[in-house]
């Protein structure tokens, strides 16, 4: 239940910050911004779905965490950590190739880390954990 509340709070906070940023942008919103907003909305949707699953599970009397959910999170964290290391190397290379502000590089890197975590979670759940 605690994790569901945290996921819900973080998702709503990100949504509120994104909405604030969106309405603060003075110039017309262009392609990269629309893409960023789109990715954030998908990630917030994932967070809300995760919180909803936890709430409905708690309602049915299920434990908040069990050995499978812990293993899925551990494996997701490990995979996304390794992939993120390569992603940051790529970002450093990209910074030399294309003119980007430090702010843009950091923003893209943080967003990419969230996307990597989300994708790893989906792949691990689809593949399962067999420990073979």
């Amino acid at each position: 239940m605690k994790r569901a509340v945290i996921a819900l709070s973080v998702s709503l906070l990100v949504l509120a910050t994104t909405a604030f940023w969106f309405f603060k942008v003075e110039e017309s919103v262009k392609g990269p911004e629309v893409l960023t907003f789109g990715i954030i909305i998908v990630l917030v949707g994932f967070g809300l779905y995760f919180a909803y699953r936890r709430f409905t599970g708690a309602k049915r009397g299920e434990p908040a965490e069990d050995e499978l959910s812990k293993k899925v999170m551990q494996k997701t964290a490990a995979w996304s950590y390794y992939i993120s290391l390569y992603m940051w190397v790529f970002m450093i290379w990209l910074k030399d190739m294309v003119t980007l502000d430090t702010e843009q590089v950091l923003g893209a890197g943080i967003l990419s880390m969230a996307v990597i975590f989300f994708l790893c979670w989906i792949v691990i759940r689809l593949r399962g954990i067999r420990n073979d």
Partner: protein, 65 residues
């Protein structure tokens, strides 16, 4: 590793939800087990076998590939 959880569950007229509650895991863990997408810990294997009143070997089949 494969298992006969689904067959034993049907024999004992238990739903996935019932079995999950008896062994104190989430329902999706039972779903993953039945699809052979997850190998349980020794404790969970023991708890499941206890629910059906059989040994672990009768439910879980270890193939040495």
């Amino acid at each position: 590793m494969t298992n006969h959880i689904k067959e034993y569950r049907a024999r004992h007229d238990l739903t996935q939800d019932d079995l999950a509650k008896k062994v104190n895991v989430r329902r999706e863990t039972i779903v993953f087990l039945e699809k052979n997408k997850y190998n349980p810990s020794l404790k969970l294997a023991h708890d499941i076998a206890s629910v059906f009143g059989v040994t672990i070997e009768e439910i879980f089949i270890f193939d040495n590939e």
